[in-house]
Symmetry: C2
Subunit: 410 residues, 2 copies
């Protein structure tokens, strides 16, 4: 094996601080009870940053502020994240508080305000307590470190059970770079251009316009293809910072390296997505819905999401009942023109509907497949070349418990 | 009080057979276990019939057959209804079986085939057992009666807990007519032009084109404004038969009588809707969402439904938690242009959001309101005159139980 052979490998216990030159710190500043609720992600020096944001009309103050910051400047050194309060539906005061957070962070980090982004998650309609934020900033900045990624992955969660973190190492020409990230999933996981809070970093060097292109494309195929409950969040954002520390520069001209970088980013986002869906609000199963043969990619994804968002289908999955009629009904609710007499459905290789009609199949055998933790359905529209893959999970008693009694768990 | 004064009154224990000249019968023919599963609704003589049907692309065979029947002929004398098998995704065989049901019914009732409609509800993808259907027809036709409405209201149910039935009596000029109906709700209650199975009859005389107009309008304001789980059914239909038995004729020229008839129909459908929502799949609460001040009626209804279909919102209602941020997030996911800075939300008279911002309010007081069985939210978009009212319910542990383990309850 040639030592300079390109290679993508998973970093063991990888997280955002697996990326050289990335430092984080988290603490409990008192925004919510007991759990850590405040984090600083710090990437000093020259960087390129890209972000995608929720399209919800009630986008939170930190979304509005971070979007504006990124419009002016792409050299981002710090992301300030709090859990417990979303700072959404908080009007001018909410925006002022987000800006004040930026101002305080700039003072304590001794960097320009324009180099700082903010991100929040938690309950809507409450103002940020600035005194606690200031305490959090002081405490976190004193304790920034390159070993703190796991802790920060936990601190950004709300009711997720497990931290979502991942890193890949890409070897190239005797050198290597790392892409690492963390994500907060669960609750309102149905993205529109973005989802959840996710923070990704790399020590490759890559211009922000190329970063935009890659992030939009990869998010579109990953985070935009998962759905936990069909609800869209006010606070979603995915931020990606590249610090160039490795000395490896990604350009479109170097096609092989560019392809590797893109593949590594995709693998990483895909893993974070899978973790978010696995952890999705009391889920017991991950369900993959592959839609083939649609007239185009958008139709395929829309149909995949119709199924993924059918709570009747999700309840059937929890009950391990191959009630594929609920899939047909969900497909049939698609607004566009589709030819139902061409549609096939199969589950784990067992054909359950062919040409829009039930086919005789071993129901008990199919129901046994549903006992697995990962279930795959393939829908073939037999009408074109459009393809999409959507990940979702089942809906369980635990979902109701988590979301009906959310406040008591904060 | 003038004896000829117009008056709409509720018929005590009213149902479809409260309408003179309407006969029904139900029995257990063996399509499903234990529960009655087969019904005949018989309205002899000259009639006018109107129907609205699901727009699901996987519309069931009985929907296709009944739509075709109604295109050819509006003098309908019988509706044959089975529960347990939906006869959806059953291809040509399914259509042939629905037509065979019509043929058999015509033979045993001794009426033309074209005067018969069919309707099914239950599991998708299974063929109707024609031997059992034939037994059911013979048995039911022998036992048709004007006292059987309550029994038929039960026989058409699937996992509804309570029969949904209602009748109103309209006195006019010393005479009166009745409008009575039954509905099967629960599971996939989010209509598009229709919902559930509902069968309505009146002994007023009214032409089918006027009936169409009134039924479409009233269904649009009632059944099209409820949502239990956001899933659209393959089998929904609402059928309305008028036999003219009362001698009272409804025409547009007689504006007062026309208005009364329309009002009575609306009251009746509204009551059936309320019962469907109250009974909706383990619900503990009925939630009314009034959207005012939208740019038009359609925007108001779309926004109302975004809220009604947010399972996060519905879970919060079950938990009696005034988590209005989930309402804001649902409104914000509306695709059209809205000005969030104008939007107000109140719950039972308590303002919780004003101009798109949280307002200080007594959270414990608001949460106490949520302990009621009926909860009302008012959303004011403050942008126009569009209004809609949407009814929904909470999502509970019982919903999961009913829908995950549906098969075991059949």
């Amino acid at each position: 094996m040639n030592i300079s052979e390109p290679l993508i490998t998973q970093v063991e216990h990888g997280t955002i601080t697996s990326v050289p030159g990335v430092f984080t710190s988290s603490c409990h500043c008192g925004i919510r009870k007991a759990k850590e609720d405040f984090s600083v992600i710090f990437v000093p020096g020259d960087t390129d940053c890209s972000g995608v944001f929720t399209t919800n009309k009630f986008a939170a103050a930190p979304v509005a502020v971070s979007k504006k910051q990124l419009e002016k400047n792409r050299n981002i050194n710090a992301i300030i994240v709090n859990s417990g309060i979303a700072n959404a539906c908080t009007g001018d005061q909410g925006v002022a508080n987000a800006l004040k957070t930026v101002e305080l962070a700039a003072r304590y980090l001794n960097i320009p305000e324009q180099n700082i982004l903010v991100s929040s998650t938690g309950r809507i309609g409450r103002q940020l307590p600035l005194d606690k934020i200031e305490y959090g900033l002081q405490h976190c900045i004193r304790n920034l470190g390159s070993e703190n990624g796991h802790n920060t992955a936990k601190a950004i969660l709300t009711i997720d059970k497990h931290p979502n973190e991942f890193a890949v190492k890409v070897s190239w020409a005797g050198k290597y770079f790392v892409i690492g990230g963390i994500a907060k999933g669960s609750v309102m996981v149905e993205p529109n251009m973005a989802t959840t809070l996710s923070f990704i970093a790399t020590n490759a060097k890559i211009s922000y316009d190329l970063l935009d292109k890659l992030l939009f494309d990869c998010v579109d195929r990953t985070f935009n293809c998962i759905s936990t409950d069909g609800c869209q969040s006010t606070n979603d954002m995915a931020l990606f910072i590249a610090n160039g520390e490795s000395g490896i520069e990604i350009t479109e001209e170097n096609e092989e390296l560019f392809g590797l970088f893109k593949q590594a980013l995709y693998v990483m986002l895909e893993d974070l997505c899978l973790k978010v869906v696995e952890d999705g609000e009391g889920a017991t199963k991950v369900i993959e819905i592959a839609v083939n043969g649609a007239s185009d990619k958008n139709e395929a994804r829309s149909i995949g999401k119709k199924i993924a968002n059918s709570i009747l289908f999700k309840a059937a999955m929890y009950g391990e009942d191959i009630n594929w009629g609920r899939i047909a009904a969900a497909i049939g609710s698609f607004e566009g023109n589709i030819d139902t007499s061409k549609i096939d459905i199969s589950c784990g290789g067992i054909s359950v509907m062919k040409n829009g009609m039930s086919v005789g199949f071993d129901e008990d055998g199919a129901n046994r497949l549903l006992k697995e933790r990962h279930i795959k359905f393939v829908i073939n529209m037999n009408s074109g070349a459009g393809f999409a893959r959507v990940l979702t999970n089942d809906i369980t008693y635990e979902y109701i418990k988590l979301n009906a009694f959310y406040k008591k768990q904060q």
